[in-house]
Amino acid sequence: MDMSQYLEVFIDESKEHLQTINEQLLELEKSPEDVTIVNEIFRSAHTLKGMSATMGFEDLANLTHQMENVLDAIRNHQIQVTPDILDVVFRAVDDLEAMVNSIGEGGDGKRDVTEVVQQLKLIEQGKTPVSAEPTSKPSSSQIHTQTYGEFEYNVLQQSKEQGFTSYAIRIQLRADCLLKAARVFMIFEALEQVGEIIKSNPPAELLEQEQFDQEFIVTVISKENKEDLYKRIMQVSEVEEVVITPLDLEQIGMELQQAEAALTQTEEKSEKTEKQEKASTARQAAAGNKTIRVNIERLDSLMNLFEELVIDRGRLEQISRELNHPELQETVERMSRISGDLQNIILNMRMVPVETVFNRFPRMVRQLARDLGKKVNLEIIGAETELDRTVIDEIGDPLVHLLRNAIDHGIETPDVRRAKGKPEEGTIKLKAYHSGNHVFIEIEDDGAGINREKVLKKAISKGIISEQNATNLTDKQVYELIFSSGFSTADKISDISGRGVGLDVVKSTIESLGGSITIDSHEGAGSVFSIQLPLTLSIISVLLVEIQNEKYAIPLSSIIETAIVKKESILHAHNQKVIDFRGKVVPLLFLKDIFEVPVHKEEGDFLSVVIVRKGDKMAGLVVDSFIGQQEIVLKSLGNYLTNVFAISGATILGDGQVALIIDCNALIK
C-alpha cells in the first residue's frame, strides 16, 4: 500500500480538477441554467472524490462528496443557483484547495470543515445558507487512535475472510533514538516479512522525514499471532514500547456507518468503493506519464549543452559541404533535422503559458467585486502567450496587486457608474502579448482613472514632492508618483488594495525581473497599467538580414513587409530620404549608417527595405540582403553591455556566431 509514488501525481491532478471546478463555477454563475456546466463540475468533483478516497484523505473525500450532493441537486433542478449558494460552494473549494496544499506540503490534509459541510447540507435541503465566517483550524493529528476509511475497512474485511488478523500496533521509540527514520524502516521491514501494512499514522512519508515525535501507529494484517509480532518488533533496537491491539472490525464498520449517515451518503458503499478505486487507478495510470517535475537548473544546463551541439552541427554541415561526400552529407542532414526537433522540444520545455498565472484571477476578481459591492467583468486576452518559467513564478503577486488596485480604486460602484452614464458593470481587461524582445501584460480598467490634482495633493502632503516641483510635472510623471512608497489615493483605506505599501513593491518586483511598468490614464475613462517583461529565454521568429558582412535579426512581430526598391524611387523630404510605400510616405533608415557598419562592397541599384512599425508609425530599414526567416533563441548581451542603442539582445546562429537583434522601437521616434 505504498502511495507515496502517486502522491505528487495526486496533488497535481487534484489542483487541476480544483481549477476546473473554479472556472466552471464562474461560468455557472453567468449562465445558471446551463446543465452541461454543472455536469462538468460534477465530473471533476467526482474524480477528485475518488482519488482522495483511494489516497486515504478522508476529509477531502467527504467534503467533495457533500459538494457533489449540492451539485446533483442543482443538476436535477431541485435548487436554484444563486450567488449565495455559489459563495458556499466556493468556500468549500477553498477548503479543498487548502487541504490539497497541506498534503502537498507534507501535512495530513485534515481540516475542520464542519461549518461548510453544514451549510452545504442546508443548501441541499433547500434552505438558504446562513453565512458565517469560515472556520479553518486544522485538527491536530491524533496519535492514540487510528481512524479508517471505507477503503481500508474493505481491505481489512477481505483479509479477515482470508484468515488474516488485523492489528493496530502502537510503537514508541526511545527518546534518545537518533535515526528515527531508519528504525521506522527496520520496523516496517520486520512487519512486512510476516504481513502487510495497511495504514500508518502519521503517514509513511512523514515517518520517513522523521516528522513525528516518538510514537506512531501502524495497522497490519498478518497471520502471525500477537506475541510473534511483538518479538519481531522488539528485535529492532531503540524501541521503547510496543502495544499491539487486535482490531475490532465490527466497531470500525459501525463508526464508518455513523460517519456515513452523518454525511447522508446514499450510494451503496461497497459498489462505490469499487467504482472509486477503478476510476482512480485508471487516472493514476494515465497520469503516470503525463507530468514529471524537472529542476529548472537541469533544463538550463541541458539548453547550454545543446547550444554547443548546435555549434558543432554548424561546423559539421560546413565540413560535409566542403568534402562533398554523399554518405556523410546524408548523415549530417539527418542529424540536423533531428537536432532541430530536439531544439524545439528543449526550448518549449521552459516556456509556460501565462494562463497558469491568469487562471486564478477570475475567481479572485469575482470575490473582490462582491465584497466591495461592485460589478466587474474580467476579460482575459492572450492567455496562451508563453513566458519563461522563472518569470511566470514571479509575476503572479504583482498582477494580483494591480488587479486589486483596479477593482478597489479604479472601478466605481454601480450607482456612481450609472450617474456617469457608464454601464453598471465595469470591465477590466487583462491582456498579454509578445512584442519584439518583450512580453507585455496590460491591465486596463474603464473606471475612474487617476485624478491628477488628487495625486499631487497627496504627494505634497506626504512630502514625496515639493509644491514648486508639482506644477512642472507631466501627467505621466504624476502617475509615476503612485509608485512611490507611502502613497495611497483612496479616500478611505480598505483592506483590499492595501495601505499604500503595495504599488512600490509591485514596481520593484517588476524591475527586479528586468522589466518596467508604465501607467496611462484618462480621468473618468479608466487607466492602463502596462508591464513590460523581458524574455530572458524565449524563442521568437526573426528575419535575418545582411548589412555588408554583418548579420542582424529583425523580430517578425514588428515587420509589416519587405520590399525591393529602385534607387530612383527614393524621394527627399526635408533632408530625409523617404519612399512612397502603398500610398504612404515612409522614412528610410540606412542601418549601414546607423550601425556604422564597415563598408566592404558597394550597393547596387536596388535597395532591400524592411518596413517596420511601432504603433501607427512606420519606417523602412535599408539592408543589403534578406537571408531568411528563422526561429531564434533570445540571449541578453550580459550585464556589461546594458542599453546598447537599438539593440535589444543577441542570438546564436546555427554556425555558432552571434547575431544582434534590432530593436525597432528604438529606431522609430
Partner: protein, 152 residues
C-alpha cells in the same frame, strides 16, 4: 609553500605589448583562443563586440585599446581571458597568456606615482618578481568605467 599560505596571491599573468599584467586567479573563468567576434554598434572603441562562449553571449574588450596602446593583429598567441566580477562576465583580448604565478604579499607595492594618472585608477599595485614587473589590475575599476556609461 605552506608557510606562505594566505599571504600569497595566485595570479594569471598575461602580456600586452612589452608589459606583463596580472589578474587574481579567482576572477578568471577561462582562457580561450580568439573566435569570431560580432561587432556591437555604437559602443566604445575598446568594446570589440560579443562572442558565443558555450552558449553565453559574452562581451569582448580589447585591452590594448582600453589602455591606449596601438592595436595589434591577432596572432597565434593571442588569447581571450574570460573574467568574472559579480554578475558581469567579459573577455579581454591580450597578446599572450601563459603563466600562473604566486606573488608573496610583501612583493606587492602600490602603483608608482610617475605612472599616467588615468591608469592608476584601475591598477591595484605592482609586484616585483625578480626581474619581472607584474602590474596588478583592479577589475572593479576597469569594468565600471565612465566611458561605457557615456556611450549609453
Amino acid at each position: 609553500m605552506t608557510e606562505f599560505q594566505g599571504t600569497e596571491l595566485k595570479v594569471i599573468v598575461f602580456q600586452l605589448k612589452d608589459e606583463e599584467y596580472a589578474i587574481p586567479v579567482q576572477q578568471v573563468r577561462s582562457i580561450e583562443k580568439v573566435q569570431h567576434i560580432t561587432r556591437v554598434p555604437r559602443t566604445p572603441d575598446f568594446v570589440k563586440g560579443v562572442i558565443n562562449l558555450r552558449g553565453v553571449v559574452t562581451p569582448i574588450i580589447d585591452l590594448r585599446t582600453r589602455f591606449g596602446l596601438e592595436e595589434a593583429a591577432i596572432s597565434e598567441s593571442t588569447r581571450v581571458i574570460i573574467v568574472t566580477l559579480d554578475e558581469i562576465e567579459v573577455g579581454f583580448i591580450v597578446d599572450a597568456a601563459n603563466d600562473v604565478v604566486d606573488i608573496p604579499a610583501d612583493a606587492i607595492e602600490s602603483a608608482p606615482e610617475v605612472m599616467d594618472t588615468a591608469q592608476v585608477d584601475y591598477i591595484n599595485g605592482v609586484a616585483k618578481m625578480g626581474k619581472r614587473l607584474l602590474i596588478l589590475l583592479n577589475l572593479e575599476k576597469l569594468l565600471n568605467n565612465q566611458e561605457l556609461k557615456v556611450a549609453k
